[in-house]
Structures are given as C-alpha cells and as structure tokens.
C-alpha cells in the first residue's frame, strides 16, 4: 500500500523538514521502512554515513528484545535534504544507543527524528546528537521519548548540541517526553552556540592555521556523538566523513 499524500509542516514530526525536497523524493519513499528485530540478549551495532547529492529519507524501526542492545551511529552529511528517522521499542532491560551528527552548509536541511518507546521496565536509552552548520543550513533533532505506565526504572537520556559557524545557519532541537511511569530518570539537554573564539585564538597562537584550528575544534565537538562507538575504524570512518564535509566551511 502506498501512502497517498506527503505530510505537511503542520505535522509536528515534519515541522522543520524540507517539503520541496520531500516532494522531489516522492510519497513512495515514506513507505520504505527498514525493520530490525533484536532477539533477547542480542547485541547489534550499525554505523553509517548518509547523504548524497539527492534527497534521502532513511526510516528504521528497531524492536529491541529483553536485555538486548542496539547501537546506531550516523554521520548525516548530504548535500541535499537528508532525514533519518528511527523508531525504537525497548523491552525489559534493553538498551538503545544513538550517536548522530548533522554537518554541512549550502542551505541544506539535515535531520534526525527519533521516537524511543520504553515499553517495559528497566530499559535504558542514550542519544547524543551534534549539529554543525553554516551557509544558511539547518540541523534538526526531534526526539520523542515515551515511557509506558509500567516501565519503572527507565533511564533515558538525550543530549543535543548545535554549533553554528556563521549567522544564518540554524539548529532546532525538539525534545518531547511523555512519561507515564513514576520511578524513572529522563534527562534531556539542548544548547546551540558559536565556535569558542578563545580556543581558536589559543590554537592559532600555537601555530595552527584557521582551518586546522576550526577542524580540530569541530572534531572535538562532534566526537561526543561517537564516544560510545567502540570500533575505532568505524569511528574514524564517521568522523572522517563529517570532517570532510567541513571543507569549504566558513572560517
């Protein structure tokens, strides 16, 4: 079955989306979900670089069984609209780890939209998102956390930081928490700022040129998103893709 119509910006989950790019992509793209189920106790990790010269929509559904652990790490660095959606359902004692970076300029919108459902007790989730943008680009993170009535001892965390290299770029963070259990921990934080000029000057005073100083600072900034990624080669791949996108950025 095909979804007949494209969503509109009145729909909360599509509020900051690039509707023109979505129209170019076509309504059919909305029907494509990657469904992944983790058996109890299973551990699975996936690292990916998304984005290209055409719009992309990646929709992923994760059903994480009891005591299982799913880790997803994404560098979102397309040169056209790129949206990654993840819907997660956590069973008892399961864990979901998400690290995401949106990076880029050229007026493009890049976004992560997550919905994490703590359906049973004692599950944990941790999401770390970093957005680095310039040249009128936008980075979005819409993060919904739902804690079911009996999902006691839930521990969910969400951390978003945006770094805007020049005026005109933007970052939107929309945390949305629906908590129906009473013995839970749900932490969320969102900040948006500019590059630390004191740090940049310090680095230049030691001999780093402006590009190198900016690259090191951006690397350090986005590094948080991939700290939990244990495979060094995969981490390098995601960081390299992000740093490569920085070429030509405003200094």
């Amino acid at each position: 079955m095909t979804t007949a119509t494209l969503p509109t910006r009145r729909d909360e989950a599509w509020r900051y989306a690039d509707m023109d790019a979505l129209a170019r992509l076509g309504a059919g793209a909305l029907d494509v979900w990657k469904e992944i189920a983790l058996a109890p106790g299973e551990v699975r990790r996936h690292a990916m670089v998304v984005g290209s010269a055409a719009p992309e929509l990646h929709r992923i559904r994760l059903d994480i069984g009891e005591g299982a652990r799913a880790e997803l790490f994404v560098t979102n660095a397309g040169s056209d609209y790129t949206r990654v959606e993840v819907e997660v359902r956590l069973a008892r004692g399961a864990h979901f780890e998400f690290g995401g970076v949106t990076i880029g300029g050229a007026g493009v919108t890049r976004e992560f939209v997550t919905q994490v459902v703590h359906a049973e007790p004692e599950a944990t989730s941790n999401q770390t998102i970093r957005a680095v943008h310039w040249a009128g680009a936008t980075g979005n993170f819409l993060g919904e956390i739902k804690v079911a009535r009996h999902a006691q001892k839930t521990d969910a965390a969400q951390d978003f930081k945006g770094l805007l290299l020049e005026a005109g770029a933007s970052a939107n963070a929309v945390p949305q928490l629906e908590i129906f259990a009473d013995d839970v921990k749900c932490a969320h934080g969102a900040t948006v700022g500019a590059l630390d000029e004191a740090a940049r000057f310090y680095m230049m005073a030691r001999g780093l040129d402006p590009q190198a100083a900016q690259r090191l600072l951006v690397q350090a900034f986005i590094g948080d998103a991939f700290v939990a990624l244990e495979d060094e080669a995969e981490r390098e791949t995601l960081l390299d893709a992000a740093v490569a996108a920085l070429e030509g950025a405003k200094l």
Binding site: Y202, M203, A205, G207, L208, L216
Partner: protein, 247 residues
C-alpha cells in the same frame, strides 16, 4: 629582535596603549612590571594578534618583519610564543594531538619536514620532564581539569616543544606555589636563556625574577614605558611601590 615603536592600541573604543616604545634584542630577558590596568595584558595580546585589539598607531618589528601584518599562526611560525595568563581549556582535544599539529603546522610554514609520531613523543617527553610534568597529563585534554599551577606548567611544556625564538610570558607566575614557581622559572631559563633568543616577562612580582634573572626591567604605566633599568629597578619597586618609584 623585537622593536616596538610608539604603539597605540585600543580595545573597543578605549585606548589602552598610548605610545609604547620598547626594544628587546636577542639574548635579553626583559621584565615588564606595572600596576593593574597599565596595559600589560593588552601589550601581550597585541603582540600575539588577538582579535578585538586594534592598533591605531605605531609599529612592531619582529626579526626585521612587520609583526602586525601577520596572522597569529604566522607570528607563531616566525618564532613568537605567547604564554597565556589564563590558558584556555579545549575539551575533546588532547595535548599531544594539539601540540603535534601545532608544531608540524609551524614546521610546514617554515618549509621543514613534519615530525613523526615517535619523534614528537620523544620531544614531548623530554620537555615535560624539564617541567616535571607527567606524560600522562599530556595525553589528557588541553588544560581540562588542570589546576592553575598545572596550566602554567603545561604552557611552559608547550613552549619547550615549540622552541620559539621569542616568548611573551603574561603573568606566567600567577597562581603558582613556591615549588611550582621554581620549576617554571627553571624551565624558562632552560628553554629561553640563549644568545639567540629573548623573553618579554610580564609580571607583578619580584619572586619570579629571583629565579629568572632579568637583564632589563621596564615599568609600564598608563599605556607607556615610563622607566627602564636593570634588575635593581624591580627590587626598588618591590620595596617602595609604584607610586614612589614613578613619582
């Protein structure tokens, strides 16, 4: 080596340096002392090229070149080192990564070959040892979680690794206890006391000058050098205070 002539500089609309003239030849350690608000930190920031400091008149020549025409990283590559009064914390970047990139950037700008990882670590270990700093500290993030004294020692390790021809040290002694002061002072002597190097040592107190004996001492007040003399000038200041010495 460094010639400052009639330097005027402002921060925002506020003039701070008002005709500062100073010459520091190679081989000299020159102490700058002065009351709060005299312009000492402004002088070091102008020499380092910090954004926000506007030079409105005068000139600064470093090894025969117009220093003010260079960007901060170009000044560093030419051999200028700025020791920060408040070293900056850089989360997520290790000292080793930062300093290796900094050193190799400088070497590249001078047309020299970069140091390999192994060569760099050997150099870093030697300089850290000079300042009695554990290599483990250099593997940590730049200045993050360092005490005030550790930051100042780390600055001197950086100076040792980068091996500049000229160092401007802005209150490197502030925040140091007596033992750390001796270590830092000995570090300055070991790294910078040389016929082809020079130091501008900005300080409030005689106690650093007990360890790093200056060849010259100048008093900076009201944005100008008002008096220059030998080491005895610092002792007079310590004993009598600025008001009496400058009267």
């Amino acid at each position: 080596m460094l010639e400052i002539t009639n330097l005027h500089a402002s921060v925002g609309d506020k003039p701070i340096l008002k005709g500062l003239t100073l010459s520091v030849p190679a081989g000299e350690i020159h102490a700058i002392m002065g009351p709060n608000g005299a312009g000492k930190s402004t002088l070091s920031n102008v020499l380092g090229g910090k954004p926000g400091y506007e030079v409105t008149a005068g000139s600064v020549t470093f090894r025969g070149e117009d220093l003010l025409a260079l960007d901060p990283h170009e000044r560093a590559a030419k051999g200028l080192f700025l020791g920060f009064q408040y070293p900056v914390e850089i989360p997520g970047v290790s000292n080793v990564q930062f300093l290796r990139e900094a050193l190799n950037s400088q070497r590249k700008a001078r047309g020299e070959e970069p140091l390999s990882g192994g060569e760099f670590l050997k150099l870093a270990k030697e300089k850290a040892g000079l300042l009695k700093m554990d290599m483990e500290m250099l593997k940590r993030q730049v200045n993050v979680g360092f005490s005030g004294g550790e930051k100042k020692r780390a600055e001197m390790v950086q100076m040792g690794i980068l091996d500049p021809a000229f160092a401007v040290l802005d209150e490197t002694d502030s925040g140091l206890d007596i033992d750390a002061l001796r270590i830092v002072g000995a570090g300055i002597n070991a790294i910078m006391r040389s016929p082809d190097k020079a130091v501008l040592l900005i300080t409030h107190y005689q106690r650093l000058l007990d360890v790093v004996a200056p060849d010259k001492v100048s008093i900076l007040a009201g944005g100008r050098i008002v008096e220059t003399g030998g080491p005895e000038l610092a002792l007079r200041l310590e004993a009598e205070g600025y008001d009496s010495v400058m009267a």
